[in-house]
């Protein structure tokens, strides 16, 4: 009996080793491609490396101070936050609004959901070219505005500083709509029927019912949606392809600024410091957001 137990124990030890190897192989690959660059970011952030020279000097925290004082970087941080805040707020309003509208007693919900999801399937390259053909000065939107006599509203939508940011915010909201809708619809359908009935009997209606009953019960969906919203701080493709950060830097996001610092202006040290700080900012925001909204979630 004792021997059997012992052999089972050694079997388990052996199994532990096998399990460890099994995790380590993918982890090694993962480490090289994901965590090693982060560590190297930290290392090079203290240098003035340009990306190709063999030599570089350690310059302490200079790059980190520069991140908070260099005007183009600061304005791109501002742009990123404006972009993310607008996309998230617009997203929650449109997605949640549509979810509330169609989640009960509506026909063809499946069909609507399918169509709404479609923009998410395509590459930003594809979507940017299509939107470019709609928003350029002689594009579809202006042709339409001209045809219905609203010449005053015609703009070079992505070529003017006043409208470029609004345009990319709109496009991003347009793409993300289907995903958020599915998340909110799932949240709404998970509300127990008894609660809705009880609310009905108590005469809770309209906004009060939404505020006091529905919203707390779908807080989890909101957590997810806001979490995904924070990830739009990373937006690169749309801006890079559609506006290149222009006109006059008005749509340049942090991701694009870091890309340009590294690969265009050859200030790799500064790009690395920016990347480190940017990762920290996104991480902290995501952590705070999830913690705050999760506190508002109710268990039932």
């Amino acid at each position: 009996m004792a021997r059997e137990k012992k052999s089972l124990h050694s079997l388990d030890r052996r199994e532990f080793q096998v399990a460890l190897v099994s995790v380590l192989i993918p982890f090694l690959i993962f480490f090289i491609f994901v965590y090693l660059p982060q560590l190297m970011n930290i290392f090079y952030s203290f240098t003035d490396w340009d990306g190709y020279s063999k030599k570089y000097n350690f310059i302490g925290l200079k790059n980190y101070f520069k991140f908070f004082t260099y005007t183009p970087m600061l304005s791109s941080i501002g742009n990123s936050f404006i972009f993310t805040i607008c996309v998230t707020i617009l997203g929650v309003i449109t997605q949640l609004g549509m979810a509330l509208l169609i989640h009960r007693g509506m026909k063809f919900v499946g069909f609507f959901k399918t169509i709404f999801y479609i923009p998410l399937l395509f590459s930003w390259v594809v979507l940017s070219i299509i939107w470019n053909s709609i928003l350029r000065y002689n594009g579809l939107l202006n042709t339409f505005l001209h045809a219905i006599g609203l010449n005053g509203l015609m703009h070079d939508w992505i070529g003017e500083t006043g409208t470029a940011m609004a345009s990319v915010i709109f496009i991003n909201t347009w793409v993300g709509f289907g995903y958020g809708l599915i998340i909110f619809l799932a949240g709404l359908s998970s509300i127990p029927q008894e609660i809705n009935e009880a609310a009905e009997i108590d005469g809770a209606k309209g906004f009060i019912r939404f505020r006091l009953i529905t919203l707390p019960l779908i807080m989890y969906s909101l957590t997810i949606d806001l979490f995904l919203g924070i990830r739009t701080l990373n937006t690169f493709d749309l801006i890079f392809i559609m506006t290149g950060g222009g006109p006059r830097g008005s749509t340049k996001t942090v991701a694009l600024a870091i890309y340009e610092e590294a690969f265009r202006y050859e200030r790799v040290g500064f790009a690395c410091a920016s990347a480190v700080l940017f990762t920290a900012i996104v991480g902290i925001l995501a952590f705070l957001q999830v913690r705050t909204t999760r506190k508002l979630e109710i268990q039932y």
């Binding site: 079997l11 199994e15 532990f16 399990a19 460890l20 099994s22 995790v23 993918p26 982890f27 491609f33 994901v34 090693l36 660059p37 982060q38 190297m40 970011n41 990306g51 509208l101 007693g105 509506m106 169509i115 709404f116 999801y117 479609i118 923009p119 399937l121 395509f122 590459s123 930003w124 390259v125 594809v126 070219i129 299509i130 053909s133 709609i134 579809l140 042709t143 347009w174 599915i182 998340i183 799932a186 989890y220 957590t223 997810i224 990373n234 690169f236 493709d237 890079f240 392809i241 870091i258 890309y259 590294a262 790799v268 990347a275 480190v276 990762t279 996104v282 991480g283 995501a286 999830v290």
Partner: protein, 286 residues
């Protein structure tokens, strides 16, 4: 003044229902028209595209003939398929190898691995790519397709896949494995006999969610696939718009070609996508 006096309850409901449909259909147009416009443009002559009218005057297939007889385009489609298929397969294998111990072993170290895999989802891709570019250049891995495939599976498959796989694994009763273990069935044999046949669902979820992501990825091939013959379709479209700026018809035909693959996959798997979204979002909660 009360609305009750103007309309009966039933009338109110009908009005509400009409308003609902009107708004939903309006949203349908806003979402659908840009996509449809991209598709109709592919069937127009260059001169007609410049007019920016929605409906084509006549249907013209020349753009597609031109694009699909271009060997670079065929090569691009091939590259995209090659990268997607292999990074999905390798990604699934990695996720399986990582998730089984994470879900089954109770040692703390596996929790740490899990945390490291999952928390990387917060890292902005651009933060990884700056120094990764110099690592890849130094190791001479730029334009090395197998290395790029590993990179794709690490970036796109592993974090979300570990999440999906390990949360799925927790739903498989442990007793079954315990019994096999006592019978002397080894670790890999158990994976093969007990877990592999059940794992089809999460593999499907991961593939459906991430295959299009790999297909559509832009920044990663832009940085790491420099040579023309290695470029996937997405990058090829991007370069085509810069090199042949005024050949609108061909550009839109390329776009339609690029849209086909994810669209087919989506239409085949609509139901699973919703489930996959709820699995992954459920995982973030933990």
């Amino acid at each position: 003044m009360n609305t009750k006096n103007l309309f009966s309850h039933k009338q109110m409901q009908t009005i509400y229902s009409v308003i609902r449909y009107v708004i939903a259909v309006l949203a349908l147009f806003i979402i659908g028209i840009p996509i449809l416009y991209g598709i109709t443009n592919a069937f127009k002559l260059n001169s007609e595209i410049l007019l920016s009218r929605f409906f084509p005057q006549s249907i013209y297939f020349g753009n597609f003939l031109k694009v699909l007889s271009d060997s670079r385009v065929l090569r691009g489609i091939g590259n995209s398929l090659y990268i997607c298929v292999f990074s999905t397969i390798i990604g699934c294998l990695f996720c399986l190898a990582a998730s089984v111990p994470i879900a089954r072993r109770k040692e703390k170290i596996f929790k740490i691995f899990y945390f490291l895999f999952i928390s990387s989802m917060i890292i902005p891709p651009i933060s990884s790519f700056v120094t990764l570019y110099y690592i890849m250049v130094k190791m001479r891995l730029v334009d090395n397709l197998p290395a790029i495939i590993l990179l794709f599976s690490a970036q796109f498959m592993i974090p979300i896949g570990v999440l999906i796989f390990s949360s799925f694994m927790k739903t498989i009763p442990f007793e079954l494995e315990e019994a096999a273990k006592i019978e002397g069935c080894g670790f890999f044999k158990r994976i093969l006999i007990i877990i592999a046949p059940l794992i089809k669902a999460p593999i499907l979820s991961l593939t459906i969610l991430q295959f299009p992501q790999v297909w559509n990825e832009f920044l990663l091939p832009l940085l790491f696939l420099r040579r023309q013959e290695n470029r996937p379709l997405t990058l090829l479209i991007y370069n085509y718009t810069r090199d042949h700026e005024s050949d609108y018809g061909a550009i839109f035909a390329l776009i339609v070609v690029g849209m086909t693959m994810p669209l087919i996959l989506f239409l085949l798997s609509r139901k699973t996508i919703e489930e996959s979204i709820s699995i992954t979002t459920g995982g973030i909660k933990g």
